[in-house]
Symmetry: none
Subunit: 196 residues, 4 copies
């Protein structure tokens, strides 16, 4: 007879919101933002269209929260040794860690890549992304220099491109490129580039 406590309501809100975001992420990643309708999201989440708007102001806001949340879940484990110098073993672990995060957030990465190619959707996104990814470059740069490369900038460019391309392959054709093998080859190639 008593009304629900605000704690109960909070729990419901949290769970339902996650449900909607999960459904949205899958659809956005699979079909793109524009091609995904609120109806589809609601259907996939098993709720009514109207309820979506009890939790999000707009379709765009779902995307924004998804991006913010994606960033967090990807980059929260990403802060070791940012400014220091990595040993060979630590570098290897660093790359493996990145691939691990990729594997665990494949859909987020797919979403990010597709947003990159349609920058008008989220103008703020690019900036955030650049800021978040910059430390990664810094780690790489430090390592390359510490290894005594004779062209640190060039090597950084090549290795970054290689990583980006490897990620893209994993995202687009995860079943063709075995991520574990890719991972190992990328690590080996990195050392060859630096020490070559």
């Amino acid at each position: 007879m008593s009304p629900k406590t605000s704690k109960q309501f909070g729990k419901i809100r949290k769970e339902k919101k996650e449900l909607i975001m999960k459904a949205s992420l899958e659809l956005f990643a699979a079909n793109g933002f524009h091609a995904t309708s609120i109806s589809q999201i609601a259907k996939k989440a098993g709720i009514s269209k109207g309820l979506t708007y009890n939790y999000f102001e707009s379709k765009k806001e779902i995307l924004d929260e998804l991006i913010a949340h994606g960033f967090d879940s990807i980059f929260q484990n990403f802060d070791m040794n940012k400014d220091g110098v990595l040993s060979d073993q630590e570098f290897i672990h660093f790359i493996k860690q990145n691939f691990k995060l990729l594997r665990e957030n494949l859909k987020h990465w797919k979403l990010f890549y597709s947003l990159m190619l349609q920058p008008q959707i989220t103008d703020t996104f690019s900036k955030d992304y650049d800021e978040k990814i910059a430390p990664m470059f810094q780690v790489l740069s430090n390592f390359i220099k510490a290894q005594g490369s004779n062209d640190p900038d060039g090597d950084l460019m090549a290795i970054s491109a290689m990583l980006e391309g490897a990620f893209l392959y994993c995202v687009v054709t995860p079943d063709i490129f075995p991520i574990e093998v890719m991972e190992e080859k990328i690590i080996n190639a990195s050392f060859k580039i630096i020490n070559g």
Copy 2:
């Protein structure tokens, strides 16, 4: 008032069609397929909405022809030495040739990349792309083996990823990464990987 010859008509048709495709490519590359309307295309091409349907069955068909045409213009210059073996100089030229094609067709590439990430748009596209790109892999593979690499498959993977990533950088942030420099570094890194 002399009636136009069918040859003249053919020429007009061809030119109008190219006009529409040019407008579409720019809009699709800039804003994405879904976010681009037939009205925008017609306006940009300087024709009426209705006329568009005189040349294309649907919006989707414009995209399909754009993809097909993009493939052609990219890969038509891509058939030298497919099955043979490249010298170092020829390999360098081959990579440079690829970057040249990229530079000249930046919008097509942007479109391709965004389509890659939304495969449902053109299911046939992926297959075509794979078929078209396969010879490139073959050329790379041949070269790597001829260079005496001790892990040809691994090196191919790494170099492919590096190229793909380099292309992606050039497409997404053409003003940040100077393509010419990128080109040189990629070539150098390739040799290091193979010979390292």
Copy 3:
């Protein structure tokens, strides 16, 4: 923990209901019936949406009760001398009394006027309004005749229109037309019309 008496409950009910009606009146008067949502009303009244339906069957019913209640609060002080004859002083007092009621119920009047112009909202409203307002006409009519007007019906028409227009001005542009001045001029003009 003693259970509330039914009397206490009744008091709570009454107060909550008045709270809702007060909030509704302000919003309806300011923004119109259609442009006002139950959410807004509930928020303004500091209660939940659902509770509104514990006191009113529907949004429409709030309006209906508001109208009924508005009539009451306006016309309850309005029954002196209905059938009798007014002296000059009493007539003046009568007009002043009307302006006083107007001033005290400006929002009700604004609501009434806007409803008048959208009769479909409350079909019953017009009839009620006519019935309620009829005695006022009667008082005016009696006074005009007693004053020896040579065109009682015409004068009634003119004075009624003048009062209605004055009320409208006061409702729509209360800051432009000083009600007190308006009041005085209307009274003077009435005598001029009757005695002219």
Copy 4:
């Protein structure tokens, strides 16, 4: 076989636009702006919902054009003797002219009155209305002063209110108040007020 000329298209556009505005005016006047849906407008105009947007950017734009057009059709015949002085006959004619315009544009007036009471709909509207109506006050003011009234400002106030109220009666209950009679009584009363 030949395409429609731009002249033909212009004619179609003009006629269709008027059709939509006519339907909209009737519905807005009868039911109010908010309570009228685009579906209703399209249905009444005998066209599809979509076509409405070929002619108007939004529902609000229909209202705006309706207001602008209403002003024009009401006030275009309204510029005689604005700054001069009216004889008795000219004053009578002036009032009659106003009632004539009212009769011919009853729906526009109804719309205007209902907008007045929901000022948030068109903030610009009030200002325009005030500017347009000001000359009318000027004409009245000039006449009253020329007649030698001993309280010109007060008389202007009373007469303005009387006119406004008369208009409101005509708009709201056109079948109860015979406009012609009203007209005559208003004129008489005006003279009584001024000369009283």
